[in-house]
Symmetry: C2
Subunit: 426 residues, 2 copies
């Protein structure tokens, strides 16, 4: 089989004619499919049918410590919820704060707090001329949106097969005191599904930041979101590594049950060193009296323990696995060997990352949209929505039912082919 680049102009023209005809056919169907965001599917949400019975009989609203979870209080979460999230995050419950329904909100507030109040006594970032964050790319668009909103300068750090380019990370963090943070999705990363290697984690923990208020924002969103029982990535526990390296306060960990129970109605938590936690508590005690303890109680009752959560994730995997396998088999079947795209083959998380020929991503997404398939906007996986190569596309296969996903993928590969041919002919 020839790659597209090996085709003659005439062969490309013929191919273009054929693909364009297919394009018009599909367009005529008036599809309306969505692969834009990493939403769980209805089938996944349906699994939690018993969830709302965990607070029946209604008399049982007391926490293990005898706290009436319907009333005010418990700023950092009830003890058993901190235990559950601590087990999930591999951190002692004393170093856990359970918040509301969104880890994104915790991260936003954590950046905001640093901007207004500083970090454990450091100068508030709003008083500094310049604050910079390192952004492994491609990465999570909502992370980049946070730092952009606060006027923080974002610096692209290329992702390698085992995590961010650590030479570059060390160079920036250890020499530039304006670098205050790095966004990390260390396990089954968004969008590539890459898990940071032990070496990367150790180098991360051993950073010697020029800024005392530098923090690693360790968003372990997919920590137990495996697709397989027998093939799973392992991620070293970063707080331990940091402590061992003499940097006990350098990392914040974030996690939630948004893709364990319900997006929007899960519980989210943060883990950090005692020094960090004490500082954060002093600030947030003015922000709220406490988060939704009944929802914390529901989670504890529903799962019983972290092991219950792990078992539960196997049911999610059973729904998601065929979708990911369909994506990979379809891409391989339709695009394998053509030299017009590469893609990741994750064994967990919520995304597949597709690398098109340079300068093609926007056009592919536009063509898909024209054909009724919504993808994450091209560029979204980069700070300022600027993919310097215009190449990366995030595929989010989780939400559509599998037959719709199959249809959407057909549209996608068609758009990739036609765009690539047009590019080669241009």
């Amino acid at each position: 089989m020839k790659t597209y680049k090996e085709l003659s102009k005439e062969e490309l023209e013929a191919l273009k004619k054929d693909l364009s005809a297919q394009y018009e056919d599909v367009k005529g169907k008036g599809l309306k499919l969505n692969m834009a965001r990493g939403l769980p599917s209805a089938e996944q949400l349906d699994m939690e049918a018993d969830f709302f019975n965990t607070l029946n009989p209604q008399s049982v609203f007391k926490s293990e410590a005898g706290i009436d979870c319907r009333n005010y209080g418990e700023l950092i979460g009830i003890a058993e919820a901190r235990k559950l999230m601590g087990d999930m995050m591999e951190v002692d419950p004393d170093n856990i704060i359970v918040f509301g329904n969104s880890s994104l909100n915790i991260m936003y507030d954590t950046v905001c707090r640093s901007v207004v109040h500083g970090v454990c006594g450091s100068t508030p970032w709003c008083k500094l001329d310049k604050v910079k964050f390192l952004c492994p790319v491609p990465g999570y668009d909502r992370h980049f949106a946070i730092t952009e909103q606060f006027g923080i300068e974002m610096i692209n750090i290329p992702m390698k097969a085992d995590g961010p380019d650590m030479d570059l990370v060390e160079q920036y963090v250890n020499n530039d005191a304006a670098v205050k943070g790095i966004w990390c999705v260390p396990k089954y990363s968004n969008p590539q599904g890459i898990t940071y290697s032990e070496e990367v984690c150790k180098r991360m923990a051993a950073l010697k930041p020029a800024a005392e208020d530098f923090r690693i924002f360790w968003d372990n969103a997919y920590t137990i979101h495996h697709l397989y029982d027998d093939k799973q990535d392992n991620l070293p526990e970063i707080m331990n590594l940091c402590a061992q390296a003499g940097n006990p306060d350098m990392v914040y960990k974030f996690c939630s049950t948004s893709k364990v129970t319900f997006p929007g109605s899960g519980v989210a938590a943060m883990a950090a060193s005692t020094k960090n936690i004490e500082f954060i508590k002093k600030i947030i005690t003015i922000q709220t009296i406490g988060h939704d303890k009944l929802n914390q109680l529901r989670h504890v009752r529903y799962f019983g323990s972290f092991d219950g959560m792990v078992q539960h994730m196997k049911k999610h995997a059973a729904i998601l696995r065929p979708k990911f396998e369909l994506v990979l088999s379809e891409l391989e079947k339709e695009l394998g060997g053509l030299g017009i795209g590469e893609w990741t083959k994750p064994i967990g998380g919520y995304f597949v990352s597709f690398q098109a020929m340079e300068g093609c991503a926007k056009e592919i997404v536009a063509k898909c949209k024209d054909l009724g398939v919504t993808l994450t906007g091209a560029g979204a996986t980069y700070p300022y929505k600027k993919d310097p190569m215009d190449s990366n596309i995030r595929i989010a296969p989780t939400f559509p039912p599998i037959d719709e996903l199959a249809e959407a993928l057909k549209v996608f590969v068609l758009a990739v082919k036609l765009t690539s041919v047009e590019k080669l002919l241009a």
Copy 2:
């Protein structure tokens, strides 16, 4: 009957001896009672027994618009929740954003947003040398704690019988561009139970602020929290008044169901002009993907409509009314005519405000504590916790069962008497 001030030194000494003996008696009992905060009682929380059945059968997770409330999205809340909260707040649903479980959190974030991002395009407050807030006193301690945390200078505005001293408010707001806000609990105020008169509301709406980014923070926490069916305060709708006065963007309203359903597991909302709402949406869309829609749905299903909420509040009133009546009758019986204290007689809300002789509040609270009764800290109702007269004490009668409340009140009046005698003898 003589007031304490009319007693001779010998009479006071005899009284002191008698009261001190009572004091030692009570101390021997080892009481442990709490009237510190405005918590609903267990009896109130028990009323909501059916609340958690509103999402059974489990298949019914769809909003009226067909949105699966278990999944991500709906930043500003589902339509029917905005309708419910809009009815509660007397504002069009288009001008409502439903947030998470805490109106305090909304207020905090609203101040924080102004500090970091400004107000509808104005200079962020963190870039200004000085920002000031007006604080009607006595007032809500958690309001003052927010402005204190952001380094905002707080200015005491005395409360009169019909609301804040508007001469003073006008003088500050209309002449000092550093004055950016005023904290208001306009109905059944915390702690006095005062409802702002129509004249006060109209003067408030007709302010001519020197600062374009001045906003009224209208925390209508007790809007439907009446104690009686036949005696209820009415509060004019402030957004309308502001619009009529040519100040459509000058007010933010806040409200929640914390004391309608559950503190910590209610829903909270904000109302504002379209211009304000659009600006706020632009900021918060980066902060979160959305709040807990299942809890919004629970509220809508449980109450059916705003009328259902109003009916429900009568059940709260039935529990709270005897407690307030006990407070007032006990104060009257024990302290009436003695000239050593005055108190408010609210017909709604969560508090009674007690004004002791000057310089006595701290000592009364300390004595109560010594006898096992926890009150809100003296001074808490003033910015920086500094009551210039050391006189105001907030009584929070809602939480204790009525027999414990009776016991706590006996301790309170004893402490008031003894402290007053000691003061007069000093």
